[in-house]
Symmetry: D2
Subunit: 245 residues, 4 copies
């Protein structure tokens, strides 16, 4: 018996382009995965934050250790790649003298004064453990806080038919939270991986997760997110016969 | 026999919200339509443009008559409502003295100087023939040209799971074209209904359609768009048995 | 002796429009004020939040009382109007059935489920004490959280040459904070009036002010902001002779 | 006699940051220039368009020659640097396989199919004559058409207190026009340098300039823009004594 499939369905109906997922975009492992509509968005895993000697490492180090966020993140991105989800890196950087920002007040003043994340320096490089793999996308342009405001993140996600966005990285209550708020507003299904984020204090992280994250996202731990990816993949596998003519 | 359906599929897979369409949003006729992912976006069908006595009516009147755009548009929105697509109205308006804009130069200077589209006046009202019907959405905030820049249009479309956007209205090479350009950039599947738009000159319309519309949209006539809506609905109807348990 | 003035300066230099402030926009009292580059942005002073019987009033009432935020806000907007700053109202509202949002999860799900802020109802009205006055602007389109994302707020501020934005209203850690984050990103000089905001718990307000507000704004109390407006006006008054030919 | 200056004025008035221009940002030549509020935005002067062997060079070559746009542009950016204006480069690029875009239809489909502007290739490099100089800014992220939509352009301009934007580059009726439309909407004072732009046909350029550019910008030739920059600089020089204590 021939059963109509979601893939067939789109091609049946001329004049409209509603691919269930933009299949042509993805590396082989994502081609037939239900998770191809899902992206793990990794914010600022750069030496300045992640690595000994980074200008902001000491500030975030206690919070990183409290949750084990590096280990957790590495498991998440590894699982994502295997299970058909996209990994998107969102680094921040500035030209010499930080000429892209005025640095008059607020957190960007600190960044400019400290000369952090200067393009071409070790501090601005994505840390070795998080080196982008084939199939990952590295977002360009970030010179502000929100992952969307000064970048091509929204375009990259839209053009890849991403619906679900899982957020992790630095700082929990700064760039991650701004990105979460905007992603929610833009209509994505936002997940915050609460043990894959760090702030400059344990209290700041806890306050953000407790008071703010639930309003704009579903909060879950890295392992729970991996479990969801697996379950979707299994359901999809078990039903695959129905999706093929 | 029980066949997996696209609707069931989403609910099968816990933790992710990927409704084929946000069913709860729509009036009954759109509930089970494949066209529920499609919106007809009607830009500035307000008396100032459409009706005798409107401040800009004489300027657009020759171009309106050349294509019969009012008649064509009315057929499109009527078909859209019957066939499960959403109709979205995007009017423009300004408070007294046009305090929301400076009007220093460009087209907004003309609008301000002419006192056009003042909220609360007859000129700013959507014309009688295009009166919003139940199930339509009226977008708020438009005080500029692009239908997205100063409004909730993107949010309304995203929240209603709209993928395909068909554009019609005024002015072909001003607000309609800016909206088309942004919609393309935002990842929508954009269609421009070339005989449902008008400009202040026949030449301006023709130049826009010939040189610009093809870069950011699929160009088609109102009747062709209606035909597409019908064909999708028929395919869907004929397969509906497979989509129900 | 004839002294060059900032006003004269702009007009001296043909071909560029860099008015110190868009003078034509403002009501008489703002015409020659240094504070005409400043706006007080009042977020959601609507009955649903502010008034007994409002659907969310009980939730925010303890926090409102703890800071006296209504009294403080009324003093701020009154001073702003007298001292040449603009007052901007940013209400939220939804059509019947909240068709502009899907309400699948997060805070908008609560808003939709509770039927809050329905356009045309008493709950969605700006409360009596905060009734917009002549010269105020009411922003349109808000159907999300951030004051910029689904509205004409940015356009209104840009077109009125606003540089400094003082934020107050509801909820401290939701709409106010999202607006603050975006305003900072958009290059405004952002001030948060910490005793003119309220959240659904005293702790949520305190956490936001302590951990987040300093990164994206200058925190100050209503009376401190009023003092700043006064001092700028006095300096300007005392120097006015130098600014006139 | 001591005369109040615009620079002194800002620092006189505590609590507000309204620099006439963000002086700290600029290289020495821009420090005291009235033109420091002005940017020349150069769109896609990359080999793919500008140079023999570029994938799109033949398509734009007739239009380039008709106006002499390369020569004109080089004079404009040279004058801008000397007269205190900022030069901003807005290149477009894509990772291998153009994974940042789906390329389903419209102009991005052509770009993807043709493999144009791939990052790291000669075609994506800014052409030799337009090599960024010290003090210039290179915008990041552009993977779409509008110069603002997928980049940090707005942030860079805002953070550098830019008010006037002069546009030049490729394609006249595609990226340049989309950037012009958005810049106007964002409140910049937009100038289009009509003999510093090229399209894939002479007719397309003429239609855009005639029908569309006047609605969203002031049209002028490169030499006229240079004259404006010079006049502003001269006025400023002649009055400089009044601006210093």
């Amino acid at each position: 018996m021939k059963v109509i499939s979601v893939f067939t369905l789109s091609s049946l109906v001329h004049g409209f382009s509603i691919p269930f997922a933009s299949l042509s975009l993805h590396p082989p492992t994502r081609l037939f995965s239900l998770n191809s509509d899902t992206a793990v968005v990794c914010i600022e895993y750069q030496n300045e934050f992640t690595s000994k000697g980074g200008k902001l490492h000491e500030a975030v180090s206690p919070c990183m250790e409290a949750t084990g966020m590096m280990t957790n993140t590495l498991e998440v991105v590894s699982a994502a790649r295997q299970l058909g989800a996209m990994v998107v890196h969102v680094p921040i950087s500035f030209p010499p003298n930080h000429t892209t920002i005025s640095g008059e007040y607020g957190i960007l003043a600190n960044v400019k004064e400290g000369g952090a994340f200067e393009a071409g320096t070790w501090g601005a490089e994505i840390c070795e453990d998080m080196t982008p793999q084939e199939g990952d996308i590295v977002v360009g342009g970030k010179t502000g806080l929100c992952g969307f405001a000064s970048t091509n993140l929204d375009m990259v996600l839209r053009q890849n038919s991403i619906k679900n966005v899982a957020l992790c990285g630095f700082l929990c209550n700064c760039c991650v939270e701004s990105t979460m708020r905007t992603a929610y507003e833009l209509g994505y299904n936002v997940k915050t991986l609460t043990d894959c984020v760090a702030a400059t204090s344990v209290e700041a992280r806890e306050a953000a997760v407790e008071h703010n994250f639930g309003m704009f996202s579903t909060r879950l731990q890295g392992v729970e997110f991996i479990k969801e990816l697996k379950e979707r993949e299994e359901v999809f596998e078990s039903k695959r016969q129905f999706f093929r003519a």
